[in-house]
């Protein structure tokens, strides 16, 4: 049994009755929509036409929102409906990144995620969804698409049918009859300055020039809804702070393993850096939640979703914090001469390495679940995050080193680490942006970084600053003067912030609807 929709665009008159019926059924705040009608104008007078498309959640068979929601607030019912429980939602917006269809929004009243849920509350009473009921031309069909004798199955079996962006692989269950590709393909129709009776939102206007469009018909978007970027400065900032935390833990542990150095920098300041930056990271993460009062759901084993990398990432953060915490306590106790816990430190170094790697790298898997953000679904991202952690972790430890003055060899070691980190960062950046991305969505995002709106920040911030840092670090290695690497240590922080910023922003820009 699987409920699905069929939208007959041959008969849809674009009247927005479905839009409004849904709003009144669910008391949806102004500015947000569970279903809406998109208009695209094509052609040149007199062969002009207007295509329409009803946009909404696709109730995917392999729903990425369900897979990635950390608290199981989104779930698939036995009848196939992708439903949600707003009492479990912490407002992390992972689902909004996972969804390739702009289906989800954060309800301004409850501050939790919401979307079309097939009016499951009505279905459970044997009633049609509100949109199906109201449509003047009966253009919205619903039924069991697993049953070949159902009305909807029979209808879809004999008509030419399409779905939105099937290549995302989520197996959408909203089928379109008579829908033009300019309406189904979010990249086919950029807005040209304005909609016909509304303003296009700023993001839509900003990205219009980057879309491939449809040159044959000059398709232009003439009505749609706004889907602002769900994640902003708190996210790219925490990626930086987490990177420092992971890098400090990793480099500290490697220092212990390879140099046997359990001196102050390593013993206490590295894990202290990890703990401090993990606290900042957690604060940013919790601050970014739309329901920060529910952050503790992530610690509740009954609630968390073990397929969600946001939840798993939380576990890894906890693991890193635990190991780092123990290490810090051991180091602090040793330094305060309460006892000698150097052996403990040596032992902790071993699990610290994979823990640190995962603290840095889990984001790759989390981003990998973002089916709506193709740029983030990169095979090199895992390694890139580790390289970045090395780069900024080294920088942070070097700056601390100026204060706690460890042995010069440690500082030189860290300088080499910084150089290695930058080199790896630049190399992987080259790999990431040098070739052609597999999907148009990723290509558009990447292009906006390398050539478009973010180019300055990318080339100056991420690339040039880190390169200069590496050169300065090199100068330290040649001249033994630490002042150069001191500057470098600061530059790599700035470079990473720029990199994370453009990476996080640009991926959320290509339209999905």
């Amino acid at each position: 049994m699987r409920y699905g929709f069929a939208i007959d665009q041959r008969t849809c008159i674009g009247c927005h009755a479905c839009t409004v019926a849904c709003k009144t059924e669910h008391d949806v705040p102004v500015g947000q929509f569970r279903t809406w009608v998109k208009y695209v104008d094509k052609g040149e007078y007199p062969t002009t036409t207007r295509e329409m498309g009803v946009m909404r959640c696709n109730h995917c068979t392999d729903a990425p929102c369900v897979k990635s929601c950390p608290t199981q607030a989104l779930f698939i019912r036995p009848d196939g409906i992708v439903d949600f429980d707003n009492e479990s939602c912490i407002g992390c917006k992972m689902c909004m990144q996972a969804c390739p269809y702009d289906a989800i929004y954060i309800d301004e009243n409850t501050h939790t995620a919401a979307k079309c849920n097939f009016c499951a509350h009505r279905i459970d009473q044997g009633l049609e969804p509100a949109c199906v009921q109201v449509c003047p031309t009966e253009s919205i069909w619903m039924g069991d698409i697993d049953d070949p004798t159902s009305g909807i199955s029979k209808f879809l079996s004999i008509q030419p049918v399409n779905v939105r962006t099937p290549e995302q692989g989520t197996k959408p269950n909203v089928y379109y009859v008579g829908a033009d590709h300019t309406v189904l393909d979010p990249l086919a129709a950029p807005v040209q300055d304005t909609y016909l009776w509304a303003d296009a939102d700023p993001l839509r206007l900003e990205t219009a020039a980057e879309l491939p469009g449809d040159p044959l018909t000059n398709a232009r978007l003439t009505l749609n809804t706004s889907h602002p970027r769900p994640w902003g400065w708190r996210v790219w900032t925490y990626l930086w702070t987490k990177s420092i935390a992971a890098g400090a833990l990793l480099l500290g542990a490697l220092l212990v393993i390879f140099t046997g150095d359990t001196s102050n920098l390593v013993a206490t300041m590295a894990p202290f850096t990890t703990e401090a930056f993990l606290v900042i990271t957690s604060a940013l993460l919790i601050w970014d939640l739309k329901r920060p009062d529910r952050f503790y759901f992530l610690f509740d084993p009954r609630k968390i979703n073990k397929t969600s990398w946001l939840a798993l990432g939380g576990i890894f953060l906890g693991l890193g914090a635990g190991i780092g915490g123990l290490w810090f306590l051991a180091g602090a106790a040793t330094w305060l001469e309460i006892g000698d816990f150097s052996m403990a430190i040596t032992w902790l170094a071993w699990p610290a390495v994979p823990a640190a790697i995962m603290v840095a790298g889990y984001t790759a898997f989390l981003f990998g679940q973002a089916e709506g953000r193709d740029l983030w679904q990169s095979p090199v991202l895992f390694w890139h995050l580790i390289a970045q952690a090395v780069m900024v972790g080294a920088g942070a430890l070097l700056l601390i080193g100026f204060v706690v003055a460890p042995e010069d060899s440690t500082m030189i070691w860290l300088t080499w680490a910084l150089v290695a980190g930058v080199a790896a960062h630049l190399l992987i950046t080259l790999i990431e942006f040098g070739g052609k991305h597999p999907t148009r969505n990723a290509q558009i995002a990447a292009h906006s970084i390398t050539h478009g709106r973010y180019a300055q920040q990318f080339w100056f911030g991420s690339v040039l600053l880190s390169f200069v840092a590496a050169v300065l670090a090199g100068l330290t290695l040649f001249t033994d003067s630490l002042i150069f690497v001191g500057v470098a240590a600061v530059l790599v922080q700035v470079a990473l912030v720029f990199h994370e910023k453009v990476f996080v922003m640009a991926a959320q820009d290509p339209p999905l609807s």
Binding site: R10, V20, V30, P160, W197
Partner: protein
């Protein structure tokens, strides 16, 4: 694309109704597999619905589903209100499966009604002005004070024989028959409507054909649907028609032809979209007629029987034998060959090949041409009525009149069940409404009221603006402001409205009346080939009465002190004539308890018991009284599948006493006191055709379809008496492109908005809230303009300042600015902040009026958190202010299209500015008046008796010097 075959998909659509055809809800109830669109009727008194916001927790709440009809547009689609049985509040509004017209489905405005009833800025109490008119300062008063003041004035006017100084001016009727009865009881010739800014032009074209003033296309069964309209998104009757048009198109393979200078959503669905130059449409249609004639694809048998071809010959070809039908065929064909495809292509500026292609489509209709124009070209152009005349001509030629899949007249698909004790007619004629210059106007010359008042033709003692916003919706709003501001011209202005408006701020009293869910009305509209009656009711009152409470007044169950008009008019009439000496009170007395006021149950109960054929039987089968039936189901179908009522045999009652005249028209004896029927000549009941059949026929003087209109000749328009083409005032011959002149189409509608009544519907405004002026890319390029550029649009009397949208969605030469936007208020208390901007409006030093926005639309604090989420800011441009009145010479219809000259905005211009010189308004008015030919005709008749006239007077009122009372007249 394969058709959507309902037979293979049994469970989709009304064909799979789970109830039998006698169940009232069978029109719209459907079940697919296990899921239904509505709860079964048996549960409507107590439905448990799971709370959507508590889901997935199952929190059930008990509701009573009470039917009513939508008040947002004239379609009056069925609605079901969900009344929470605990809080007694309406929480949601859905459709009504028992409504034969809308069949359980609605447009966006139906469910959005809840926004309007729950608007935090809603007017909940009667208000009285405290400052000057237009000062937007009001204080709350009691209903008693309002009633006593208004009743006192009307009583005095009646006693002092100034009855016709009382005027009721209606925008959205939403009901049939009630207010006409009230005005008849007062003896007041005071019914003014908005129709001459709306469909008056089209009505003229239809009226001179068959007497009935509107078409009723049978879209569901059509083969060719020809729309000079945008009925898939707006107009009468958008939702019910759109349903049936799409059914025919996709299931029945009907061809949809749409004529519109703009790419409307409707045009985007057309098989053929023609965008002729505005005003040239009759040339297009007559070229199609000419094609049908010369290829002999004409329904000649039908024409021979039902068209007044002999009169045509007599007047157009006196040289021919008027009895010779073959000669007629030849002559008619020859008469129209001047309308070649090339001629039409030249007038229309569209390719001749496209016109030819369309002609072939129409010719192939085989009696199933469903054609409709409501406003569109008939509302835009001088001679626009000729477009409707030409359109119906095609229906005649193709033999589609009154046939299944063709086009019937509205009268066959509509009923107006009258109230008890209908008064006879009054004997006066209000020349402020029906002036002599427009003897054949289909509707009152409401656009000219300010000019008539300002030039001293009369005054209005008590003026009701009822769900109507003439300051905004009419042309020449500053003239309205001048007239309405003058207390000598308008003694007392009562605005009856559910919402703030630009006119209400010029009123002395603002009286809040209910919306869809808060009032009683009956209505019936021609939406398919049947007849239905709808019933609007105050749903919380009905629900609470079912739960055991008793009400005598809807104010006790409505929000605040919002009232309903039925009770108001009864109460007001009682106060006008408390002791009955004026002869008015008796019409508002209970029949069951004489001497007491009639209540709504008794009033509507009477109508349902007596005046709705078939309803008592349907009700009793279900064990209900007729009133109970209507309260339970909200609507009743009186008859289905009704066609060719012209061939209806006369009943014995009709036939008795009727004598045929020399043309075979059966007439009963009449006197000067006989009250005229709504449509048709008094006394005429039918016609004897050549073969002896005695049938009802049509409502023209000849009781046939008048290809030649003797009435037009009678009033001086003999040269326009047959379907013809009149050059529009905005013909391209009048437009100088090199001077950046264009035609402005200011009237196109949006599917989500309804005039100025949807302003406070937040869910509608958030979809549609920007007002760009559409202009073809070529025109924009030519003038060096890009999207967003500000332009000054110059009209005959002033200018407005807009921003353009350079688009391919409108034909070159035409610029289009949608109807609904440009809303304003002068302070923060008197106007909906969901949609208005704040303005300064007043006269400048040079005497010209100026409206200028100080602020756009902004978020505001209210009890509804959504008001702070407003993310739109464009209030729009109030273009109507800059349009002078253009009363069409024959029909009186305001010709909306404007010849405008576009220039870049001047440095001092601001977006939304409107500047007007009302002296120029007066000059244009006088210029258009000078084209008219005044009545009366040579017999002293003011107006043809057959044409529709609500609030029907006695015959004597029709004559300037009526003959002696009592003597019979033919």
């Amino acid at each position: 694309m394969k058709p959507r075959d309902k037979d293979t998909v049994e469970s989709h659509g009304p064909a799979a109704s789970p109830v039998g055809p006698d169940a009232p809800e069978h029109f719209g109830l459907r079940v697919r597999e296990t899921v239904s669109n509505y709860p079964p009727v048996e549960q409507w008194d107590d439905v448990v619905m799971y709370d959507a916001k508590a889901h997935p927790r199952k929190v059930g709440r008990h509701y009573m589903l009470v039917p009513t009809t939508c008040f947002n547009c004239e379609s009056a689609c069925g609605l079901l209100a969900y009344v929470d049985k605990e809080t007694k509040e309406v929480v949601k509004i859905e459709g009504n499966p028992a409504h034969p017209g809308s069949r359980g489905r609605n447009c966006a405005k139906g469910p959005a009604t809840i926004n309007q009833t729950k608007d935090p800025e809603r007017i909940l109490y009667p208000l009285k002005r405290t400052g000057p008119r237009g000062g937007s300062d009001f204080e709350r008063i009691s209903w008693d004070e309002a009633l006593d003041t208004i009743a006192g004035r009307i009583r005095k006017a009646i006693q002092e024989d100034r009855r016709n100084e009382v005027m009721y001016h209606v925008g959205r009727h939403g009901e049939d028959g009630f207010i006409e009865r009230v005005l008849l009881t007062w003896g007041v010739d005071g019914n003014n409507t908005h129709t001459n800014i709306c469909s008056g032009g089209a009505r003229f074209g239809y009226s001179v054909w068959g007497g009935y003033d509107r078409p009723s296309p049978d879209h569901a069964n059509a083969k060719v649907i020809l729309l000079l309209s945008s009925h898939l998104e707006a107009g009468h009757y958008f939702n019910p028609h759109a349903q049936r048009i799409m059914d025919a198109k996709v299931r029945g393979n009907a061809k949809l032809v749409v004529v519109d200078p703009r790419l409307s959503n409707t045009a985007s669905h057309a098989d053929e979209w023609l965008s002729p130059w505005p005003g040239s449409e009759a040339a297009l249609l007559l070229a199609i007629a000419a094609y049908i004639l010369r290829t002999d694809q004409v329904a000649w048998d039908y024409i021979k029987r039902w068209v007044n071809w002999k009169v045509y010959l007599e007047n157009v070809h006196p040289e021919l034998d008027k009895e010779d039908f073959e000669a007629f065929k030849t002559a008619l064909t020859a008469d129209y060959q001047q309308y070649t495809f090339e001629f039409a292509a030249d007038e229309c500026r569209i390719p001749a090949a496209q016109i030819e292609k369309t002609a072939k489509i129409v010719a192939n209709a085989q009696g199933k041409l469903a054609a409709h124009t409501w406003r569109s070209a008939t509302a835009g152009n001088l001679g626009g009525w000729a477009v409707a005349r030409a359109l119906f001509f095609l229906t005649v030629l193709t033999g589609s009149v009154g046939e299944k899949g063709g086009t019937s007249p509205n009268g066959w698909n509509k009923l107006i069940p009258h109230g008890p004790n209908m008064p006879g007619g009054h004997d006066s004629w209000n020349e402020l409404l029906w002036p002599k210059e427009f003897p054949m106007s289909t509707n009152e010359l409401s656009i000219l009221l300010p000019h008539f008042l300002l030039e001293g033709r009369g005054k209005v003692d008590t003026y009701f603006s009822r769900v109507y916003n003439p300051v905004w919706t009419n042309p020449d709003g500053f003239s309205w402001i001048e007239a309405l501001s003058d207390e000598d011209l308008v003694g007392c202005h009562v605005a009856m409205t559910p919402t703030w408006s630009e006119t209400a701020i010029y009123a002395d009293f603002i009286l809040p009346f209910g919306h869809s869910t808060e009032r009683h009305d009956t209505q019936s509209y021609e939406q398919y080939a049947g007849k239905w009656l709808g019933f609007r009711q105050p749903v919380t009152r009905v629900a609470r009465e079912k739960m055991g409470e008793t009400f005598t007044d809807s104010r006790d169950s409505n929000p605040g002190e919002v009232w309903e008009e039925t009770e108001f008019w009864i109460e007001l009439s009682w106060r006008i004539d408390p002791d009955g000496e004026l002869g008015i009170r008796k019409y508002f007395e209970s029949m069951k308890n004489p001497g007491t006021k009639i209540g709504v149950d008794e009033y509507y109960g009477y109508i349902f018991d007596n005046n709705v054929p078939g309803l008592p039987e349907k009700a009793s089968k279900l064990g209900l009284t007729p009133l109970e039936y209507m309260r339970k189901y909200g609507a009743v179908e009186v008859v289905a599948d009704l066609y060719r009522q012209d061939e209806r045999a006369l009943t014995p009652a009709e036939r008795e006493g009727a004598v045929p005249d020399e043309n075979g028209v059966l007439r009963k004896p009449i006197t000067m006191e006989t009250q005229k029927p709504l449509v048709g000549e008094p006394g005429a009941v039918g016609v004897i055709l050549d073969d002896g059949s005695e049938v009802a026929g049509w409502l023209t003087p000849s009781r046939k379809l008048e290809l030649y209109s003797p009435s037009m000749a009678d009033f001086g328009w003999g040269d326009l008496a047959t379907p013809c083409y009149i050059q529009s005032h905005v013909s391209h011959k009048n437009i100088d492109e090199s001077n950046n002149e264009m035609v402005l189409v200011p009237t196109f509608r949006l599917p989500t908005l309804i005039h100025t009544r949807s302003g406070n519907a937040k869910y509608l405004n958030e979809i549609s809230n920007k007002h760009p002026m559409w202009m073809n890319t070529k025109d924009a390029d030519r003038m060096g303009l890009v999207t967003g550029d500000m332009v000054r649009v110059n009209t005959e009397i002033g200018h407005f300042v807009a921003r353009i949208w350079s688009t391919e969605a409108v034909r070159p030469g035409v610029t289009a600015l949608s109807h609904h936007m440009g809303r304003w208020r002068t302070n923060d208390d008197a106007g909906s902040r969901w949609v208005t901007g704040k303005v300064d409006v007043g006269k400048m030093e040079d005497g010209r009026w100026r409206l200028r926005y100080k602020e756009g639309v902004k978020p505001f604090v209210s009890d509804d958190p959504d008001s702070m989420r407003i993310n739109w800011e464009d209030p729009g441009v109030h273009q109507n202010l800059a349009f002078p009145v253009h009363p069409d010479t024959q029909s009186g219809m305001h010709c909306w299209h404007q010849k405008v000259r576009i220039e870049r905005a001047h440095e001092e211009d601001k977006y939304g500015d409107v500047v007007v010189d009302t002296k120029k308004s007066r000059e244009v008015y006088l210029d258009w008046m000078s084209k008219t030919k005044s009545g009366p005709n040579k017999d002293g008749l003011r107006r043809p008796e057959f044409m529709m006239r609500p609030v029907m007077p006695m015959r004597k009122a029709y004559f300037v010097d009526p003959p002696e009372s009592g003597s019979p007249q033919e």
